[in-house]
Assembly symmetry: C2
Amino acid sequence: MTLPIAGLGLTGCSPNTSNRYLEGNFAPVLAESTVTSLDVTGIIPGELAGRFVRNGPNPDDDPGGSRYHWFVGRGMVHGVRLDAGGAMWYRNRYVASPSGQTPNTSVIGHAGKTLAIVESGGLPVELDYDLTSVNDELKMGGGFSAHPQLDPDTGELHAICYDWAALRDHVRYVVIDAAGVLKSETKIALPGMTMIHNMSITQHYAVIYDLPVTLSFLALGTGSSFPFRWNDEYEARIGLLPRDGEDRDIIWSSVKPNYAYHPMNAYEDSEGRVVIDVVRYDKMFESDTNGPFGDSLPRLDRWTINPVSQTVSEEIVDERPLEFPRCHPDLNGKPYRFGYSVAAQYDGFPAIYKHDVQKGVATQFSFNSGQHGAEPVFIPGESARSEDDGFLMTYVYDTNRDASDLAIFDAQDLERGPVATVHLPVRVPYGFHGNWIPDHSESAATA
Amino acid sequence: MTLPIAGLGLTGCSPNTSNRYLEGNFAPVLAESTVTSLDVTGIIPGELAGRFVRNGPNPDDDPGGSRYHWFVGRGMVHGVRLDAGGAMWYRNRYVASPSGQTPNTSVIGHAGKTLAIVESGGLPVELDYDLTSVNDELKMGGGFSAHPQLDPDTGELHAICYDWAALRDHVRYVVIDAAGVLKSETKIALPGMTMIHNMSITQHYAVIYDLPVTLSFLALGTGSSFPFRWNDEYEARIGLLPRDGEDRDIIWSSVKPNYAYHPMNAYEDSEGRVVIDVVRYDKMFESDTNGPFGDSLPRLDRWTINPVSQTVSEEIVDERPLEFPRCHPDLNGKPYRFGYSVAAQYDGFPAIYKHDVQKGVATQFSFNSGQHGAEPVFIPGESARSEDDGFLMTYVYDTNRDASDLAIFDAQDLERGPVATVHLPVRVPYGFHGNWIPDHSESAATA
């Protein structure tokens, strides 16, 4: 997430002070690389023709030492192209539009375009097939979101867009049509300048996460690179905005104080309740003001919202620390059974989890010592017969060789380990979100 | 040097057998990189605006293990752009023209173009400013040379072009005009298919090095990737071809058996003798058939040829092993005083030498332990007052951090060490030749 805080400067920063978000595999890589000869272990499924792309921060200047926040580094997209059972290339490229945009949080395929995206006012940037930035994408209505939600029935993207510097007292709910053009925009007033990283859609609602991480004028005034802080005074609440409704139609319900970046999925049950499986933290940006993992570790909860009583029942689905949840893209906003996540310890990402949220059980693949996973992206199989018939892809950092792999799992047999591993000669630093963008598809791949 | 030996195959090769030309910093790098944020120690002279480019082999497929020859890997050009005292970028790119040419031996600037070049029938390939291959350069008359010699008075390039597969019983002496177009071509018959890596020019002559490394049909037939071998039966001789003469005008003189890739310079003295300072080996490709350093180590000799008596006096100038000699480009083919070379041990390149060939003395800069230099390119100063008033540039591999530097020396004060060092995050593998190509110059930079 790039925040428009130019001019605030970084006075008083101490570049040599320790900052875990600049160390180990959080550290930026120094080169843009192209590798066309890649070693592969195992067999890459022949049906996978496309690019596995992921965005993340890669600060290339003095990032501010102890004051550097993980969310503000320049965007860098890493990608591996697969085709006919082969790994054709690895590329990493800074996101750098001519206007200076460098969205760092996700990269999606939509309407035939590859788009790097970010929240908080940043424009999407179109990348070419080889991941070189082309230009700002202006058809989507300006400052966008890192987490548009795909409506699998319409191909539309739904997003909550915040931009404290420009919008101040409200956020925008936007719908982008399947052709990539802004279709509708709804202004949503809020009591504070909250950081709204994500949203959900269900059959009838857009879900608004209005949670107690808000703009801190103290942080702003003291030159913090990322001026959002935990706010004990701010009420945590979830809003259900009827998809065609307006601000005044939102059904707000309180939840326990928490912060959540990533719902695994949300849907409406047979009784009209909204069920949200969400990765949530008890605290965020209170003592650790450089990144998300220092105040509390996240767990997977289920929130069930009764829109009539405006009450939320909260239950723990998986208490193990985990992050970056994904589900089947065609079931986004619908009842589902399987979700996927990565174990999130304070010191790394040691396993991939597969959650059966109907049965309340999970399986996992634990990496070898020194290996760390990332967001596991689910890719439906070409002729899938069941919800989990497909593949999981993730980048895996290997401390032992200080380089990363692309690991491809059979999602029905996660425990077996990767069916194929593409060994990169370079690191893919820990970062944020990405997608599999098939070569022959105009459809969105996003979460 | 890329040889047209497609179809010979590499049967019987043993990829895991040790081959020093695939190990350490001889090993290829795996990625094409772009680095725009470069650390610099010292102060880059502000007058240096241009690119320091160097070509070398970078095999990207299974290179044949113990049978891989250093001269046959795909070309990769490494470059650092300097401007206004800053290091703007480092890039390395495979040389890869649409027709499949991948010259690996040198890279020059001529007639406003950046050209990767090679001998033995390969076409020059034009690179764009960012070192991406554009296309074959066809105006220079076909298969070219890795060592065209610049005539500083005319801006012409002179070259001896061999191509055993196409030409068989002769080589071509070509002159390329200052606009980059073939001006003249002279056929030179030879008694064998010799590997003629280089040539020299003097005021009246083109110098032909017809030395006893010749095509080996045994090597060809057994699938060697590089089929030239030492030939005890072949007479070592130097030819003086009057610049406007023909084959029959060549004045041939015998020299002791040797092989030489690189003259430091050649010129005619006041008595009409041709003086050649040359780096020469006692033996080449006899037992070490993978590269140049295993049979003997090179030293700097002076050959003085009397064209009337057709005799050559040979004397040792510097008996220390050294290679990749350079001199002031404006004195190419003319009397000169200073030459530059790199120490060439069997296990590395530990020092840069500056030779005063008039006084018969040398100074040097020895690298720190684990650091290895390369060809030192002399760049005249902007308002130079003496022959050695300028800079030396070379890539320096640092074993300790497994990465390379670009080192810039004051050529008048070599012993002081680099005035500026640009630290690259990646290795520049040991390779061959390169040049400084100023931004605002159409003139050739070559040797």
